[in-house]
C-alpha cells in the first residue's frame, strides 16, 4: 500500500476496503502520521479532517497510533 492511500484511501473507502497498515510493506508511512486537534470533535490526520469517532476507528484499524 502506498503512502497516499494510507490515510486518504482509508477515508475514501470508508475504512472497509483500506488495507490495514500492518499489511503495508512500506511501514514507514505509519510512523510519520501526524494527528492535530482541530476543534471539539474534529482532528486532522496528515491534514485530512476526521471526526473523533473516525479517528478512533483509524486507531483501531492500525492506520494511526
Amino acid at each position: 500500500m502506498n503512502r497516499r492511500n494510507f490515510i486518504s484511501g482509508a477515508l475514501a473507502t470508508g475504512f472497509a476496503a483500506a488495507v490495514p497498515v500492518k499489511a503495508d510493506s512500506t511501514n514507514q508511512a505509519k510512523k510519520s502520521t501526524k494527528v492535530v486537534y482541530l476543534r471539539e470533535g474534529y482532528y486532522t490526520v496528515d491534514g485530512w479532517v476526521v471526526s473523533e469517532k473516525e479517528l478512533a476507528q483509524l486507531k483501531e484499524s492500525g492506520h494511526v497510533d
Partner: protein, 511 residues
Amino acid sequence: MLIDLAGKSELEFPQDKYDVAVAGSGPAGISLALRLAESGKKVALLEAGGLQFTPQSQAVYQTAEGTDPYFSATRLRFFGGTSNHWAGRCREPEPVDFEERPEAYEESGWPISFAEIKKYLAPAKAILDLESKEFKEKEGTQDLIDSFYPDLELLSPPTRFGVKYLDTLQSSELIDLYVNANVVDIPLKEDLASIDSFAVKTFDNVSGNIQAKNYVIALGAVENARLLLNCDRQIDGGLGNGGGMLGTCFMDHVNVRLGKFIPDKDVWKDGISSMAYYTGDDFIRSAGIGASNVTMGYTAKAESDGRGQAVKKFLVERACNWGLEDQLSNVFQFVCPEEGRLSTLTEQDPHRKNRIYLSDEKDELGLRRVSVDWSLSDFDKKTIKAVAEEFAIQAHRGGVARVKLPEFLFEEDVKLPFYGNGYLVNGHAHHMGATRMAESEKDGVVDPNCRVFGTNNLYVAGSSVFPRGGAHNPTMPLVQLALRLADHLIDDGSLPDQEGLSAEQELLQET
C-alpha cells in the same frame, strides 16, 4: 469626438466648455462619462494611453525596484483600461459588508448604506452586458454545507469598455475623448482647495492644462493614490492626505489554495466539476472574520498541460502514488486522480501597514514611481484559517467531500506571496483601497460623495474608494459607485434622494 494628442506640437483645450474632466477610461471613467452626458453634461474624458496597447505607455505603470511586478502587470494603460484583460466575473457586495463591526475591524467601514449602491445595480448590469440576467449559483453546487451557501455570480461576456464604447464616445456631442493625454499634475487655485486644471503632458513632452467645473480621477486603485501623492507641489503629502491616510489601507482579495478534497461520489455525479460557496452572514459575525468565497474544483483523471506531457504524466502518476504530489507541485501544476482542489477569494483587512507610497524613481513623464507594502494581517490569517477549518468540517458533515488542509494554515509566518509545497497565497488582481471613503479625513481620503477631503471639486472613482473589499469581485460595485458619483455631479453637489429612486433611476430600472 476623439482627439489624439500624440504628435501635437502644442496643446490647446477649449475654455469654459467642460462640466467635468475625467482622467481614466476604464470601467469607472467610461461609465461616469456616459451617465454625465446622458444628463446633458459636457465631459472631457482623458486616456493616458492610446487606443491600443503600447510598451511606452505601459511602462509608466512600472513599480519601483523591490516591489513585486504583480502590481504593474495586473493593470493595463490604454483605452478601456484594465477591462481589456478582465475575466468578467461579477458578484454583488452583501449587506453584511456594510455593517459596523468594530470587534472585527480596526479601521472604519462604509460610511454609506448598502442601499446606496444597490439602487445602481440595474444600470450597472446594463453597462456590463448583463441586463435581464440574474445572479445565480454555479451549476451543480448543492446547498449541503452549513455556515456557507451556494455562491451567486454573473459572468459578463466580458465587456471590453474600449471596444464596446468607442463608437458611442466618438459620436457623442457632449463627450470629448482625448487619448495619449497623461494627467501629470492637479494644480490648485490660490485658495488651495479648488482645482485649477488637469495638467496634461504627452510623450512628446508637450504640455497643456485642461479646465472644467469638476474633476474626477478614475485611474485604478494604485494609480489614483499615486497621482494624488505626486501632487505635493502645493500641499505637503499630496492631495487628500490631511489625515495621513492617502495610500494606506490598500487591499486585494487573497487567493489561497486552501487544500484538496476527495469528493463524495453520491454528490459529485453527472459530470459535476466544480461547486462554489460563500460565507454565511451568521458565520462571519460569530467568527469575527471577513467574507470568503470557496471554490471546489474536481477532475476525475490526472491532468497536466504544456510541453512534455508524457513525461509530466509519468511523474504525476508516480508522485500521486508515492504521496509526493505537494512537493512536485512546486515544479508544475497538476491534480491527482480522484482528487479536487479548494481555492478561495478572501476578504482582506483594511489596515494601514498595507500601503502605496512614493519612491525616488521617476517614470518618463516625471512622476515618482510607487512602492507597495502588502502583507497578511492577523485578521487575514484568522479569516483564512477559520474559513478553511469550518468549510472542511461542514463539507464532511454534509457528505460533500473529505478535505485535506495544508500545513501552512497552522503556521504563523505566512507572507505574501507565499509558495510552498504546491500551495499558494497571492492576490486576485483586485486592487482596492488607498483612497478610501470615510466620514472624515482622519479615517480616509474621500468623503461619502467621493470628493477628496480638503478640495472643493476633485473626486475619485473606482475601487480605490472601497473602505472594505468584502469577497465580491470589484468591477460591478465600482461601476455602481461611478454612476452614483455621476448623479452627485449632475445635481451639482447635492446627493440624490437617499430614500427612494430618482425619476431617472426609476426610468432606467423600468427599461
